[in-house]
């Protein structure tokens, strides 16, 4: 694997030992052209399929949170009980299909937001997240004024 050294170096540079588990998870998460949106449970299923030796759920949680803390993953705001993560750590937006829980990235430059009201008392805007909920063509649309 050609990515191996890359992942090893990246982990070491972040102060994380390049263990078998972290390298295997890195491979699943980051050897992709497209953004990957996932829950721990989905990651677990993929790991079970692709890795001979089982990775414990504790390690999946530990690793995902370590990667998040180092800035290689970010958490996404969605309804529901499970936490979603995103390999795209840039500020960006999403299409969200609630029927399939499928997320699709929208680059910030592909949406224009204007006329922002001013932030509350002594607060400053840090980030803007737009979520566009989509559904099959036969559903009813809300009043978007």
């Amino acid at each position: 694997m050609d990515h191996l050294k890359f992942h090893t170096d990246k982990l070491r540079a972040s102060g994380l030992r390049p263990t078998k588990q972290r390298l295997a998870i890195s491979k699943i998460l980051f050897n992709r052209k497209e953004t990957f949106h996932f829950t721990i449970d989905q990651l677990k299923k993929i790991a079970e399929k692709n890795i001979k030796k089982k990775i414990s759920v504790a390690t999946l949680y530990n690793t995902v949170h370590a990667f998040e803390k180092k800035g290689y993953l970010k958490e996404i705001s969605l309804k529901g009980n499970k936490t979603f993560f995103d390999t795209n750590t840039r500020s960006h937006h999403h299409f969200y299909d609630e029927e399939t829980s499928q997320l699709t990235d929208i680059k910030n430059e592909n949406i224009s937001i204007s006329n922002l009201p001013k932030a509350p008392n002594g607060k400053k805007i840090r980030d803007i997240e737009v979520t566009i909920k989509v559904a099959s063509n036969n559903q009813k649309q809300k009043n978007l004024v």
Copy 2:
């Protein structure tokens, strides 16, 4: 209480019996001028303060979900383990202060969104949710380009 008959009628009209518990919760949730954003846990604490006879958590969940199903509440998309509800059931947006978990409504007409990319394959836009994260003035801002 002058709102009592209003809540009683509203519940009956929705096919929900106006029980003591539902009326007490309605009073907490809907006797307000401003939008109320809350978790079940926050609602529980308010109920404990304001209602002599304890309302069980099961009833809090049942009632909130009944109100949601009838269209009097809606669930909000946020990070974290707890579910947030909103007494403003219109399509609208939020300022979100992650430090305090405080939400503030922004009316749809107070934000302009343009240049939307087209929705994925055979999907139609149903709703747009903008969340503007704010923080104390001393924090660093993300690159919003």
